[in-house]
Amino acid sequence: MSAVVLDRVTFTYPERDRPVLSDVRLELPEGVFALVCGPTGAGKSTLLRLANGLVPHFSGGTFAGRVMAAGRDTRSCKPREMADVVAFVPQDPGSSFVLDRVEDEIAYGMENLGVQPRHMRRRVEEMLDLFGLASLRDRSVRAISGGERQRVAIAAALAPGARIVVLDEPTSQLDPQGAEDVLAALQRLVHDHGMTVVAAEHRLERIAGFADVAVLVEGGTARADEPRSILGRVDLGPPVARLGAALGWSPLPVTVREARRHAAARPPVAPPAIDRPSPGDVLMRAEGASYSYGGRVAIDRVDLEVRAGEAVALMGRNGAGKTTLLRLLGGMTTPTEGRVLSDGAAPRTGRDVALCPQEPESVLFRSSVREEIEATPGAQTDRVLDEFGLTDLSALHPRDLSAGQRLLVAAAAVAATGAPVLLLDEPTRGLDPEAKERLVASMRRRASAGGAVVFATHDVELVASAATRVVMLAAGQVVAEGSPEEVLGDSAVFAPQTTRVFGPGWLTPDQVIASVR
């Protein structure tokens, strides 16, 4: 029995000439974990939203063909009538919340379906346990961290017990351990209860090992296949797949475990020392900086130097204080104790340092990408457009771009200040590998031109390829600091895939491939 069937589906958004998906045929059997992947802006979100009828019932546009989920036809069933068979978790969990307390939010869907109160009680408790939310049950959904919100949104969607769960980038705001936990919980629902999970995700290194089926959305079509055959493509796959493809491993590995079997047969040479230019002058420093509010210490006596030519990665679990530290460095808030200095004085926001926030939407207000960059005081527009690979998109309205592209535009608009220190908060959410590559390249250029980049991220592969130094935060304190190979190398949670396959000292597939040739 098929859980989701797309039958010759063609869909065009209102006032668009070209369909975003055309003649798509797809069948997902019941009880699989399906990974939806593809480049930024290819129509992954559209595909997901077809499953419960949000497209076309909410989007408008022209729809042809038929979508069946759990035997219901979305042409005649509205999303609300699919609610008991398809659960949907949107990309931005923050604005999807209806009620206020975590517990009530989780119960909301069940209330709508008229589930008996005593079953609801039990079900809410199960969900709180399954997603580690028990301690947050009385909190406001608006006052918890992004990662916590993401888990609440998933719990709330799953609570009514729909047999099909559709998730749009369910781990984009989660730290590596949190992501692992959520994906494992979803997999358990698939294995133990025969549920069907359909998840779009860019961070393939996290999810590849869980998927039974991969759906590639690209160029207006979608096809389902074994994960191996789709993730084997160099431009899409997780680092292990890139390694395997370059080293001629067959069958191609998609998980670390599979890659290790190949690697054991052929141990590589000792890792080459990574050549990094020695950092220049100190551009900014935090001296015993602390920040507390409402009786809670968010940042606790942090000492940190940022030097010219550096790309510093701030890592740590959800709620460790990364965003707060960035705000202190950016001069957005002043430390409650200690100080932050740039050139001997408090940093001037927008001059000495610029900060790109987690939500790019907060920055964008002009009607084209070019105008958006021009709006930043003192912008060298053409150079910045080029640097971020946005020249082709410069005439488009930022709102018509995909989430990943918008993030690039926001980062570019902020970088256009020309401030020597650029701070980025979670810069790779929703970015496909190609867009990520562009971002990394522009970060490198900025560093080599005598600037510095400090970025907070959960993306270990980004850190492996872009960071010159890693600062690990826990409960507002710096708990480890050093080069990526030192800090990530012996971490059970934060080690990148290449390190897991070949051992400490190895960070990226490129490094391995270069040393083999």
Partner: protein, 278 residues
């Protein structure tokens, strides 16, 4: 164009949140199976349940079992599972269903007008189909003239045109065997290797598309609800108020002192809460 979407969104919010009429689900929603109403009158309480049958017809006994699964109705059968002993916690527990005679569960069958007819046969041999209404009442009296009938109930009183929700997730196997399987009739042959010729079935999506334009309902943004203005204060007739020239009266002073005291208390409370981080 993006703005259009946004306007639609506002209308959608307004429509979804404000108009209860618009909230009634589409009756055409495909996989909705046959349903029946079960009324249980314990004498103290009347429970009315809308039960999905999952098949075109079931027996009166099956209907109670389904109500147990879907709504958590408590029940127990006796005489080899053919008679009803206990419902909703009332009645003997299994075995002899007449253990509490003269009280027992009377079996009634609903008519389309909402009235009741005493059933002359047991619940194991009746047929319950889409739209049926079945009633059980606890009481004395051995036939339809003396046993109390449940309160009049029509099918539409209980089963709204809304589709019946799945009340709670069930273990996989149970669900598979009981749930309706509408796919058999509606799933398209479709998918990857289908070398489908243009059959009637194949043409259908296109036809449907013409018949039913897929644009969501458009309305004007003015339809968005606005906050009700606060009531305009009205001037009361200033009749017979005793006025007194000179300084404020003693009561007025008390009012000012009370206000100041409350104001200060508020400031202190705010400070204390800020300090304690409460």
């Amino acid at each position: 164009m993006k703005l259009l979407r946004l306007h639609l969104a506002v209308v959608a919010v307004a429509a979804a949140a404000v108009v209860p009429v618009a909230a009634a689900p589409d009756a055409a929603c495909a996989s909705e199976g046959p349903r029946a109403v079960l009324v249980v009158d314990t004498g103290a309480d009347v429970i009315r349940l809308c039960v999905s049958l999952g098949r075109p017809s079931v027996s009166g006994i099956d209907l109670i079992k389904l109500a147990g699964q879907q709504h958590g109705l408590d029940y127990s059968f006796g005489y080899g599972g053919n008679a009803v002993c206990r419902l909703a916690g009332v009645g003997p527990d299994g075995g002899d269903c007449f253990a509490e005679h003269p009280y027992f569960w009377g079996y009634w069958r609903g008519s389309s007008s909402g009235g009741w007819t005493w059933s002359s046969v047991g619940p194991a041999s009746t047929r319950v189909t889409d739209g049926s209404v079945e009633g059980w009442s606890w009481g004395t009296g051995d036939d339809g003239s003396s046993h109390p009938a449940p309160p009049p109930t029509a099918f539409s009183d209980v089963c709204a045109p809304a589709p019946e929700p799945v009340p709670e997730p069930r273990p996989e196997k149970e669900r598979r065997s009981k749930a309706p399987e509408p796919q058999k009739t509606t799933t398209p042959v479709a998918v990857a290797e289908a070398e489908d010729v243009s059959t009637g079935e194949g043409d259908e999506p296109k036809k449907r598309r013409k018949e039913r334009p897929r644009r969501p309902h458009r309305g004007s943004v003015e339809a968005t609800p606005t906050a009700t203005p606060l009531p305009e204060p009205t001037l009361a007739p200033a009749a017979g108020a005793a006025s007194r020239p000179g300084g404020p009266p003693a009561a007025g002073l008390a009012a000012v002192i009370a206000t100041a005291a409350l104001g200060a208390a508020g400031v202190l409370l705010l400070r204390r809460r800020a300090r304690e981080g409460l």
